[in-house]
């Protein structure tokens, strides 16, 4: 669609502390475009969780955001190890995050469940040894 605003970010896999830069930037952009606080919050939280996942599990990746008048679509793609059991990963409390990540307050097994909770549509394409693509859509009620 021609009226979409497209944003592209690289999520660094080396630095755990830099996660959140893409979601922070998108949040700012949506705010300046006048989207509702609820929609902005949902997009930001879902994106941040996905960024954290990419840093913890996949050594970073890319984030593509398309902003439409009625929805925000986000594609997060990485070349990580893939998710062996998506159903399990979707369960609240299930986590494979290492101990150092847990000590920072992550690894509670809330990442994917939170993403699902805050997006209106979510799809995961994952292949072991190749990577994962996470598509999410947040609808904007205006």
């Amino acid at each position: 669609m021609s009226n979409a605003i497209h944003l592209h970010y690289e999520v660094s896999g080396e630095d755990f502390t830099r996660a959140g830069e893409a979601s922070g930037a998108v949040k700012k952009r949506l705010k300046s475009l006048g989207y509702s606080p609820d929609a902005i919050r949902r997009v930001a939280i879902a994106m941040y969780e996905a960024e954290i996942n990419m840093v913890i599990h996949a050594e970073g990746g890319f984030c593509d955001v398309d902003i439409y008048p009625d929805r925000v679509e986000v594609l997060l793609s990485d070349r990580g190890p893939g998710i062996p059991d998506v159903e399990k990963a979707m369960q609240e409390g299930y986590s494979t995050a290492p101990a150092n990540v847990r000590s920072l307050g992550f690894g509670a097994g809330m990442g994917l469940p939170n993403i699902k909770k805050y997006s209106d549509e979510m799809r995961i394409d994952t292949t072991i040894g190749v990577g994962t693509k996470l598509y999410l859509t947040v609808r904007v009620n205006q």
Binding site: F16, T17, A19, G20, S23, G24, K27, P37, R41, A44, I45, Y48, E49, I52, L104, G105, F106, A108, M110, G111, N114, K117, Y118
Partner: protein, 109 residues
């Protein structure tokens, strides 16, 4: 009630000063960042022991009014710098979450 009122009433120490005129309408306690991010209400005061850089991202995304590091939990240097950049107010107290929350409850009524 503003962040400034909260600081005065509860004698909190200011570690990073953001917008002290922000309204505080609620309170949330938690240390698991994903949990907090998904559930902390906007404009709440967030009580935690997590003083790392990811806490600042969570505070920004969840749009809380301020962070209070309870039981004198430490704020690391990266977190302090990021909070300064993003204008996130960070406060500290020697009290634990429960004791502080009870007082906040009285103030928010």
């Amino acid at each position: 009630m503003t962040v400034k009122d909260l600081i005065e009433e509860l004698k909190l120490t200011i570690l990073v000063e953001g917008d002290l005129d922000r309204e505080v309408t609620d309170c949330y306690i938690g240390d698991l960042l994903s949990w907090v991010m998904g559930r902390a209400p906007e404009d709440s005061v967030w009580l935690t022991v997590m003083g790392n850089i990811n806490s600042i991202a969570v505070a920004t995304l969840a749009d809380v009014s301020c962070i209070v590091l309870v039981e004198n939990a430490a704020l690391d240097t990266d977190a302090r710098n990021k909070a300064n950049i993003h204008g996130v107010t960070i406060l500290q107290t020697e009290e634990n979450s429960y004791a502080l929350a009870v007082k906040i409850s009285g103030l928010l009524r």
